[in-house]
């Protein structure tokens, strides 16, 4: 006698799980800061521990993702489209994946960055994390959006958040140019293969902000329906 007509009418809302997934992703990505600090100091023991932590947190986010996907049957009637929701989830998850990839690549090759680059690189990482933090902030408004039925002030509020997110992202683009320029000045003195991978790491970090921005733009699609 657990289910009656009224109680079976209510499915489990995807909003809270989506938010906790994003929180889990954010937990994972912020660990990149201590990770990069350790790498730049060439403290490989600490860096290795951080990398493990990131991998573990990524796994947790993955679990949440799978759980949410399984709980979204087609018969569910939601204020947001199922497809858009799943895309937001995928984007969020990619942020965690990317963080893990970056950390793994650096540890695997024991990459040492030239000191001229390191400070800018750390700024770059931090700014990209700002972007994902802003994306999380917007995602956290989803329950308020449901409360207001996706209309009025709340929509404007979230749109403003997404605008800020876009600004942060373009900020990271500018920093990325600077990091690349700094590396370019040093690259002739460094082993070419290492430099190739450094560029790849820089691209990866930039992707974090890109992905965060895409979380925002998917959210915007949810609003527009």
């Amino acid at each position: 006698m657990a289910r009656t007509t009224i109680s079976s009418l209510f499915g489990s809302s995807p909003v809270a799980p989506l938010q906790s997934h994003m929180a889990s992703v954010q937990e994972c990505i912020v660990e990149l800061v201590p990770f990069f600090k350790a790498v730049l100091k060439e403290d490989w023991k600490k860096a290795k521990a951080q990398q493990k932590k990131i991998a573990k947190l990524e796994g947790e986010a993955d679990k949440l993702k799978k759980k949410l996907r399984l709980h979204l049957p087609k018969s569910l009637f939601m204020p947001i489209s199922r497809r858009d929701l799943l895309e937001v989830l995928t984007m969020q998850d990619k942020i965690a994946n990317k963080s893990k990839d970056i950390a793994g690549l650096i540890i695997g090759r024991k990459m040492t960055f030239p000191p001229e680059v390191s400070e800018k690189l750390l700024d770059f990482v931090k700014r990209c994390i700002d972007a994902s933090k802003q994306a999380q902030k917007a995602i956290n408004e989803l329950d308020e959006l449901v409360e207001t039925g996706f209309s009025g002030r709340e929509v404007t509020l979230v749109q403003d958040m997404i605008k800020t997110l876009d600004e942060i992202e373009s900020d990271t683009d500018k920093i990325q140019v600077k990091v690349r320029a700094a590396l370019f000045k040093q690259e002739k003195d460094l082993p070419p293969v290492d430099v190739m991978f450094m560029y790849r790491v820089i691209d990866g970090i930039g992707d974090l902000a890109d992905l965060s921005q895409r979380v925002g733009s998917r959210l915007e699609l949810l609003l527009a329906r």
Binding site: M1, A2, R3, T4, T5, I6, S7, S8, L9, F10, G11, S12, S13, P14, V15, A16, S75, L76, F77, M78, P79, I80, D143, E144, V146, E147, T148, G149, F150, S151, G152, R153, E154
Partner: protein
């Protein structure tokens, strides 16, 4: 009349059994949204349900009882064989009681109302004759089953939109909630009182004019409004409540409204659903007491209404509160602001139907109302499978109730004559 007392006893036992079943299962559906929204505790829900189900049955249950009792079967055809109507009504009660037991065992979303109407139509059409059924009236009833969820859905949609417009989407939702919630409370109390005044109170010995009805409903609305304003006024913003969810404080104001609409819902449910149990009892009692007179003009005796109300409360106390507790845990997505929109829309629809004497399904009406809020994009996730199973249950319940009551009808006929 031969076996008169036995018929009377059987009718009361079956009727009580039905009423008990309604209290155990059906009431939980009516109260679940209020408990789930967190506005009232389970204890409060049981208390509200006990008081207002009873009041609804007693004050406004007369019309639907009359329909079940003598609106579906053409009693004039039976003036020479009154015992046939008695067998039929007993059979219908038994059939409905058993079908509901089976259905709740398997968790099917069947409606008490649909079952009893199907059962009565079944025994009348087969046991007595096709022409013994007021098909026009039955048609109206069946139409009302489709109209009532739709109407409740439309009302809840617009209620919720009005909440968005006046409260949630404003610069200061908390202050606006405090300002406008009393008006919703007034509206709730006014609607319920008005419909009750219009249709229900004759049997309590209160004859009123239209102007008096409006006047008294207005005054009643004002009283309820001022009483609850005492509570809304006291609510202060707790900044820490808004940390996770910005509307937490606003919802606390809506909690007061939710209490009022929960009362309205219980009242509405009592006014409509108790008739399913006691309508047939009233029919049997009418015939036995008048010594075999079928086309009785007398009103439904008050003690039968009280009997039905008591049966519901007993079912609620013994079993229903556990079901309410389970439902309350499952419906946490419904905040008081949308819970109120759904509940008020359903309660209004049901009370209007009660006033018109139409037996409708409270649960299905509430489902329609919740879907209305969902259409306004107000609920995280709704399981549309339920809508499909409800349609299926319509198709299955009517023949099932009918077939069983036909079988019981011939059985009783064989035993007693």
């Amino acid at each position: 009349m031969e076996y008169g007392m036995i018929f009377l006893g059987l009718a009361i036992v079956f009727g009580l059994f039905m009423a008990w079943g309604i209290g155990a299962n059906d009431v939980a559906n009516a109260m679940g949204t209020s408990v789930g929204s967190g506005a009232i505790t389970i204890k409060q829900a049981v208390l509200i349900a006990a008081v207002f189900e009873f009041a609804g049955a007693f004050l406004a249950g007369g019309q639907v009882t009359k329909t079940i009792r003598k609106g579906i079967v053409d009693a004039d055809l039976l003036s020479s064989t009154p015992e046939l109507l008695i067998f039929g009504m007993l059979a219908a009660l038994l059939a409905a009681g058993i079908w509901l037991l089976v259905a709740s065992r398997f968790g099917w979303p069947v409606s008490t109302t649909h079952t009893i109407v199907g059962a009565i139509v079944g025994f009348a059409a087969v046991g007595i004759g096709f022409e013994a059924v007021h098909w026009g009236k039955v048609g109206t009833i069946v139409m009302s089953w489709i109209v009532s969820p739709a109407l409740a859905g439309i009302v809840s949609y617009w209620l919720f939109r009005s909440v968005q417009k006046f409260i949630l989407n404003t610069d200061n939702p908390f202050e606006n909630a405090k300002r406008y919630v009393p008006y919703y409370i007034f509206l709730t109390a006014f609607m319920i009182a008005l419909v009750t005044m219009f249709k229900g109170l004759k049997h309590v010995g209160l004859e009123t004019t239209i102007a008096q009805n409006y006047g008294m409903a207005f005054i009643f609305g004002l009283i309820v409004m001022f009483v609850s304003m005492n509570y809304t006024r006291k609510i202060q913003i707790k900044p820490e409540a808004d940390k996770d969810f910005h509307f937490a404080n606003v919802e606390r104001v809506f909690g007061v409204l939710m209490v009022v609409t929960a009362c309205a819902m219980a009242f509405a449910h009592g006014s409509n659903d108790v008739a399913n149990a006691i309508g047939p009892v009233a029919a049997v009692v009418g015939i036995v007491q008048s010594g075999g007179e079928v086309a009785t003009k007398s009103m439904t005796p008050i003690w039968i209404l009280i009997l039905g109300g008591a049966g519901i409360v007993a079912g609620l106390m013994m079993y229903g509160k556990h079901v309410i507790a389970t439902i309350g845990k499952n419906i946490t997505e419904l905040t008081p602001s949308r819970g109120f929109a759904a509940t008020l829309a359903a309660a209004t629809t049901v009370v209007i139907a009660s006033g018109t004497g139409l037996p409708i399904s409270t649960t299905h009406t509430l489902v329609g109302a919740v879907l209305g809020v969902g259409l306004a994009r107000g609920i995280g996730a709704l399981n549309l499978n339920v809508v499909r199973t409800i349609f299926l249950s319509w198709i299955v319940t009517l023949p099932a109730g009918a077939l069983m009551s036909i079988a019981f009808f011939f059985m009783l006929k064989g035993i007693f004559s």
